[in-house]
């Protein structure tokens, strides 16, 4: 409520400011139009200030940090589909299967 009052006051001040600012150089016939224009412009700016005050604060979401690489012992790669090779052990395994001497030799011992 206090913020709304401030914004309304600001819009009136602005309106008067615009009105007097344009009143001095204006001809007598244009005085009313200048005041009306000032009120409209001031109201618009006041509304903008009011709406910006009521906006929720910006929430800064931390940038997701890339997951650290797995420990060396858990690192694994697949030279072909369905083959897991473990650099720390220098050994390959069939996916869903046993130690694979063929690929252990091809990858690490040849």
């Amino acid at each position: 409520m206090a913020l709304r009052l401030v914004s309304i006051t600001a819009s009136i001040v602005l309106a008067l400011g615009f009105g007097f600012g344009s009143w001095a150089p204006a001809a007598a016939g244009n005085k009313g139009a200048a005041i009306a224009g000032g009120i409209i412009a001031g109201a618009a700016i006041g509304a903008a200030v009011s709406s910006s005050i009521n906006q929720p604060k910006t929430v800064y979401v931390p940038v997701p940090v890339a997951a650290p690489p797995p420990p060396q012992w858990q690192q694994v790669f697949s030279p072909i589909p369905h083959m897991n090779c473990y650099p720390a052990q220098r050994a390959c395994y069939n996916a869903n299967g046993a130690y694979n001497a063929n690929w252990t030799y091809k990858i690490y011992a040849r």
């Binding site: 012992w73 858990q74 369905h82 897991n84 473990y86 720390a88 052990q89 220098r90 050994a91 395994y93 069939n94 996916a95 869903n96 299967g97 046993a98 130690y99 694979n100 001497a101 063929n102 252990t104 030799y105 091809k106 990858i107 690490y108 011992a109």
Partner: protein, 154 residues
């Protein structure tokens, strides 16, 4: 206790059992559907995870294959080591020394470390083979059939 309450309690027990069975089945299915393997990850880590690089990558791999073939002779039917091939392969896998200027004392320590590594590898592979012998022995047959990869079986 009323018959109605007894019936309700039995129903609750059945429902709990069903939930438990469903949960166990789901976890087993999830495990079997994963693209995992039969590697005893924690056993490997405990056995050799903190060992220093006493061998080259190639030598470690050769030693792994020798330990595997030795374990196969214990787990699978129809596989026997050729002792002379095995002895030569061990020599090949541990040559050259990591440092040609090693003292006699250092060489003894290094040889002990190599033997311990071979023994640990052999032990964990024995455990893997006895856990899933069908797949372990199928893999051994694949090795025997591959003429491009040396083996030390008869």
């Amino acid at each position: 206790m009323s018959a109605h309450f007894k019936g309700l309690r039995a129903l609750i027990c059945l429902a709990a059992a069903a939930v438990l069975i469903t949960g166990v089945t789901a976890s087993v299915l999830a495990e079997s559907q994963a693209d995992d393997d039969n590697r005893l990850d924690e056993a490997w880590k405990d056995a050799i995870g903190d060992q220093e690089n006493i061998l080259t990558e190639k030598q470690f791999a050769m030693l792994n294959n020798l330990a595997f073939q030795a374990a196969v002779t214990k787990v699978c039917e129809g596989f026997d080591l050729d002792q002379s091939k095995f002895a030569k392969a061990i020599t090949d896998a541990t040559t050259p020394l990591p440092n040609p200027d090693m003292s006699e004392e250092d060489i003894k320590v290094w040889e002990t470390a190599v033997i311990m590594r071979l023994g640990a590898t052999y032990g964990v592979l024995l455990a893997e083979g006895n856990t899933r012998p069908e797949k372990f022995c199928a893999s051994a047959k694949d090795l025997k059939a591959d003429k491009d990869v040396p083996n030390v079986w008869q």
